[in-house]
Symmetry: C2
Subunit: 232 residues, 2 copies
DNA sequence: CATGCAGGATTGTTCAACAATCTGTCAATA
DNA sequence: TATTGACAGATTGTTGAACAATCCTGCATG
């Protein structure tokens, strides 16, 4: 999809610009388009074009851009415009370092959750695992990737911390940028289905340390695979 | 300092509005005023007043506000304006939960750093500890608090991760909001000087797990103290 | 005291305008 | 041929004015 085609498709989004602030809604629309791969890393976002397509003024659009730069989805280059962020290999390493901290700590701290909260959270993890397995059974690899992300978001949610949840959302949104550049969803998502199930089983059994160690290893493997392909 | 006095003091900041984007510079100014306690939690920021005082248009100011809301320093209430964020007790708990994850993990992962990086980082930790001890010897308790924050920022930097660094900056900025409301800096910062030195010694000795456990306990004590005082 | 209404203040957004900056193209020169 | 400089066009960054919508406060009434 070229940029101009994408801009044209924005006109269809006009109807959703109601309620809440327009700037916020514009940011939501852009965020969805970025994380769903309709706007690829490196793409330049023209204020004029996008403003016209969405029927909003440039000022409002600039506010929306500001909302998205802190989520690291956009990068704002002074006097040159706004671009969808292109991640470097160092970014990928740092993302894995950061998510390892978040997810592994979340598991280790899950032991402190009260039983009701813990069980509710584990149920969400289970749902994500099953979502992935179903999608895999039907060879819907993009959906497997999405379910994998849900899995990791639910694992991080074991930390029972809104700030961890938000940080994890940002991590996963950035990772989507990487995956969209890569293509080949089967390669990057299928191998982890069995690992997700294994980690879930360890979690359900209350083997927190074993689950944390397993996830630590898993992320190491995933990181190495992704970096090799990203630099390849 | 009342809001109107503060707004008047902004006029003095005009000279610094050069280079880079004006919106970015406005955000820097506001950020500094918030984290330095000149704008207290709950304060409402009037577009008209602040725009006039800084000599910028309302549109530019709105962009700056958007930059700061994601840092959680400001909270944007639709159709009601922008306020300096007021943290709840739940926020305090979550901040400590999050910082515990960041700092404790950073220490545990420091073992993986190469010697040169690790030594450089530990030297920064040492500097922050000494900064605090000097300020304490002269009963400069606000400076002790500042040094304590440097200490924690340098501890988190052991993770060698830009994303951890940034997350930690945000945590500490939010915590400043809490401390500004509390007053009594000696109460909240002095008791931890000795602990900081102890943790530094453990880090220098390479006793990563012992240091991590010590910091975990320390944060638990600090959290309890702060929450008790915050709920009053 | 509680409720409703009016008025004023402010926010959210749009539009137009202009200065500054960047990028691409073309011509001149070595 | 390669490099440099000039110029034009496009775009960004910012300002200011305007207006609709919303909120808040104060006052009147029951």
């Amino acid at each position: 999809m070229t940029t101009s085609e994408w801009v044209a498709s924005l006109s269809a989004e006009r109807a959703s610009l109601t309620r809440a602030s327009t700037a916020g809604r514009v940011a939501e629309i852009l965020r969805a388009h970025i994380t769903e791969g309709r706007l690829l890393p490196g793409t330049r976002l023209s204020e004029e074009d996008i403003g016209s397509a969405l029927g909003v003024s440039r000022n409002t659009l600039r506010e929306a851009f500001r909302l998205l730069t802190h989520e690291r989805l956009l990068v704002h280059e002074f006097n040159r415009g706004v671009f969808v962020r292109r991640l470097s290999v160092a970014d990928v390493h740092d993302l894995y370092r950061f998510r390892r901290i978040l997810e592994v700590s979340a598991i280790r701290q899950a032991a402190r959750l009260d039983a009701a909260t813990r069980d509710a959270r584990l149920d969400l993890v289970r749902q994500a695992v099953e979502e992935g397995e179903h999608a895999g059974a039907e060879s819907r690899w993009v959906d497997v990737g999405t379910a994998n992300m849900h899995f990791h978001q639910t694992v991080a949610a074991l930390a029972d911390s809104p700030r961890v949840d938000e940080a994890m959302q940002h991590v996963l949104a950035e990772l989507r940028l990487v995956f969209h550049v890569m293509g080949a969803p089967q390669t990057f998502h299928e191998p982890y289905l069995a690992d997700n199930r294994r980690i879930l089983d360890l979690l359900v059994a209350g083997s927190w340390d074993a689950a944390a160690d397993a996830l630590d290893d898993y992320l190491g493997v995933a990181e190495a695979q992704l970096v090799e392909a990203y630099t390849g």
